[in-house]
Symmetry: D2
Amino acid sequence: MGTMTIKVAINGYGTIGKRVADAVDAQDDMEIVGVTKTRPAFGCDLAVRKGYPIYCTFDDESRIKAFADAGYTCHGGLSDLLKVADIVVDCSPGKVGASNKATYVEAGVKWIFQGGEKHEMTGNSYTSSANHVQNLNVQGTRVVSCNTTGLSRTLVPLYEHCGELSVECTMIRRAADPGDSSKGPINAIKPVLKVPSHHGPDVMTVKPEIKINSMAVAVPTTIMHVHVITATLPEGHGLTTESILEMWASHPRLIIMNGAETGITTTAEVMEFSRDIGRKWGDLHEIFVWEDGVKLEGNTLYYFQAIHQESDVIPENVDAIRALMGVEEDWRVSVNKTDSAISKYNNL
Amino acid sequence: MGTMTIKVAINGYGTIGKRVADAVDAQDDMEIVGVTKTRPAFGCDLAVRKGYPIYCTFDDESRIKAFADAGYTCHGGLSDLLKVADIVVDCSPGKVGASNKATYVEAGVKWIFQGGEKHEMTGNSYTSSANHVQNLNVQGTRVVSCNTTGLSRTLVPLYEHCGELSVECTMIRRAADPGDSSKGPINAIKPVLKVPSHHGPDVMTVKPEIKINSMAVAVPTTIMHVHVITATLPEGHGLTTESILEMWASHPRLIIMNGAETGITTTAEVMEFSRDIGRKWGDLHEIFVWEDGVKLEGNTLYYFQAIHQESDVIPENVDAIRALMGVEEDWRVSVNKTDSAISKYNNL
Amino acid sequence: MGTMTIKVAINGYGTIGKRVADAVDAQDDMEIVGVTKTRPAFGCDLAVRKGYPIYCTFDDESRIKAFADAGYTCHGGLSDLLKVADIVVDCSPGKVGASNKATYVEAGVKWIFQGGEKHEMTGNSYTSSANHVQNLNVQGTRVVSCNTTGLSRTLVPLYEHCGELSVECTMIRRAADPGDSSKGPINAIKPVLKVPSHHGPDVMTVKPEIKINSMAVAVPTTIMHVHVITATLPEGHGLTTESILEMWASHPRLIIMNGAETGITTTAEVMEFSRDIGRKWGDLHEIFVWEDGVKLEGNTLYYFQAIHQESDVIPENVDAIRALMGVEEDWRVSVNKTDSAISKYNNL
Amino acid sequence: MGTMTIKVAINGYGTIGKRVADAVDAQDDMEIVGVTKTRPAFGCDLAVRKGYPIYCTFDDESRIKAFADAGYTCHGGLSDLLKVADIVVDCSPGKVGASNKATYVEAGVKWIFQGGEKHEMTGNSYTSSANHVQNLNVQGTRVVSCNTTGLSRTLVPLYEHCGELSVECTMIRRAADPGDSSKGPINAIKPVLKVPSHHGPDVMTVKPEIKINSMAVAVPTTIMHVHVITATLPEGHGLTTESILEMWASHPRLIIMNGAETGITTTAEVMEFSRDIGRKWGDLHEIFVWEDGVKLEGNTLYYFQAIHQESDVIPENVDAIRALMGVEEDWRVSVNKTDSAISKYNNL
């Protein structure tokens, strides 16, 4: 690529798309060549303020014209956008990926899907710390879901030390997004009756050697998921609670804090902390682990981690772009570059 | 005891006490000889309506007199009540048991504490299906907590079939009682950072052979707890998902329903079901298991169960009275007698 | 009617229908001749337990047969039920009333709709204390909504004393029913942007002389609505805060309690109180007014009242039956008869 | 003051203090000379990152030393800070103001308290649009509460047009702050039984001519308050719904949006909007009015407004500094200067 910047298209400028766009825009080796919207709506104002060219999700003249009618400059349909892009990050709602993939193949661009799509659709999956190298120069991949990304962050370093790992995870999920006022429950716990759930085993798409099952419940909160994890380490693991905490503290995109000492004892205080340190949207790209909630008893490790659903995958998308474009082979170098650039758009 | 009825005192006529009193009152082999209140308050009206003699929690003349001043007939202090009782069910708030125990010993009555007290305080613990026989004719015992009772209901029959059992349980707890408006969180998940939690291992006070650990979170709901359970069965267990469901269906105080077929997919609908079938206070003495949330994969059993915090232990207290008084050796006979009598005070 | 009992059909045996059925069943001058369900489902078990004959909502042979296939005795379609009824209480979901009305007219039965239907559809509306006499012997009427019923309970006696009344009401509504786990918001306040709302003015369908406007918001709770009311009394009203409280205390179906003295300071404690006094389903037919939240300043009266959405209209339906059948001209006599009979099915 | 910058001290660097500090820091005519903390805690890290000198809330050597022990540079006690300040913004928790006031008087600095203190304590109260001129060059004042500030924003321009105004307001309050996980209720509505409440009449401390009463309830949400307002305009007011909307649209710090058109129909979407436009902490300094929830019927105006509790008063503090220091007589000029500077620290 030389000193050329990577030309990135965002297909779907919504909750995930707007965050990926800003994270990409902050990097010095890539640029946003356009974002798509299905119709002229509030997101267009954001794109205008940021200076991102607007395209229509559809190659449909009347739909494209609707943008002009609403006062926005629309540069064309998705096909027009793909012509000026090296790679497209698909941030459209889940389950529409299959038809999009054919479009991307035809346009000759690389592509990245999100965790709402199935692994089988792309044949590749990605998290920065698990399998960056395997994704080098591939045509397309899938950045795994918020939950899988979160599990990778703490389990991959454990696995790499131990050589084997058997995990049970209970996922306590927020039932609705913070800006979604229509979904409940208001006062109930909702078990996900399909057991084991699909969430945990998805980790095996990025690190097949980790044995993992999960169960899930949805609860009346809008801010973060919490994972309750029990991991069985192999005999002779040589670890202690303290050495595991050190391992995690030196791993990127993990925050380890002591609940009793900081007063950060629930996801409410975690989110307040994120606002306090000036994060745009109040996002927390890192996985939050309570230091005093980690305990190794014999071969069994118990811990809690909190996941910010709409943001932990954002920097992973940036790294995945570098993997697919083959511009950086070392995942840690990419992660440092990504996070350093992102930190500049925060408020502090 | 011949045809004599067992004379039962309730020390603490609050959330648990009022329920135990009515359950005892419904039995033909026992009667309520009195209930205590610390001061004249709303609960006194309930006692009057039910015809339960009121006593003061304290042997203090001025406190006793306060009841008369408020228009209630108070028959004396706790000591006076114990003189006319064979057994006292202590339903006072947690952690005051130790001092009460000395009073009961001195009065020469048998006693039952609730799960808020520690096993060590009584030396015995009780659930109907786990260890009724071991509690026969003992001087005092502790009916275990709502969570331990719930775990016993499903794990004891499994253990009795398998001979060994290793269990991990995540407890998703309601953060406040339905009539408690002061506690939060309103929008957060709160992990119980002490890991593993004390809840699961408490099962071993009634069935020491079951190996169990637990972790817990509190969530913004007021109606039921949910347990997410992973149980490892021994090789050669000979069970299937279906045979486990049959085993549970034939076990007392378990309700097995299919969420997809009935529409009962969260704790909200479980509680509505309980009101619909006419239960007093909307209580559900049974543990609710979603049939379609049970899955045996190899030796690992996954399931969810919902626990009605303030009511699952109520019939257990009645059975415990029979154990301590030595009037019924067979736990299943006692359970049937208890539940049959209770069913008469429900609305349908 | 002589000593004949009134034959009552319930069309729609759901949240409201099951409650009306039991309230009717408790009266000695009326009987349930059948209840309808659209299909064999959980409600059928309830009907069987109560001994209510089951009919199908539709006159459709295959739908009727589905009940038998599911093991229930179905006595026919709606038309068959109407042949054996004097009056039908329509408890079907809102907005299907219009088509049902034609069916009732054709069958020659009297009919009662619920507040989900518009006043215009029946031409009559009903609450026991506002206009029982105007509903005597009419062919059909509408028992007004939970909110309108609640407003009538406190405003009608005020109006009758003052001769005129101008009212502003803010309704803080529960956003979902207790057994509904799908609706939100989990963490938001939702204003009803149509202002003024239709809720308050609906009072004028039963007492046209009361001038009233309302605004509404939905909030994340599942148990009760709260009305915040400001009423302007005419000059020379001669009332005091105390005399208004006395007026209300002597009015049927109002509960006046002091929050500070009883600890009943929110709707959570109100509902707990209702369970404590043994109400079936935990229902509170009465409107709850906080004594210490009532204040008359000059001509302006401020107060709060709490409304139990699914139950305050239940006894009103029973009274409306007597009005339409012309068996009791005095609303207070009917109310006393209704409530006395209902009290017997409660648990205390 | 010439070209000198105003030296501002922040006493209490918590939820309000940290926001006021950043807003002051963004202005070119003022600077932060120090912020106080009671003890070394998380807020100190924030201050260090921002470059604000840290002082101890107390003039106590051992407390001051504790900061150094924790690795922070502490420049002394409150007295030391006041020596280098022209004016102090007191952001300490409510009800400690009285003792602080004496300290400020003694130190010879000007002072600003927050709405948690009583008007009587300072003798002056302030909102930018209501009474900036009356606060010019006074020694101390009180920036009124979030609710009073919100009411002023919409009522003062109405009053100024109409000459008189009579208002009833129902306040639906968030029961806990977003970072507070201990307070409830989880599932209830809590009326503030003292009626009328103190909230509305507090408007009269800044604009005595507006007649206003209020009632309040707390509900289970953590994000915004909503006001439900009924205002009676005088005869001959000459206004229409549209002209009122225009009046508000041209008033500073009001956002008027159409719920149906934007999909912003609850406080959840309002807060999401605020994050989307890049506001630090997700704050919304403006009062949000739903265009389609405003309706003038005759002389009665109905509307809803949403209040971001911890942020609407922030820019008012900046304006109040200018008033007290006598550097800007025109409130609109100050408001524009304040808001323009603040907009630069937001993310877009």
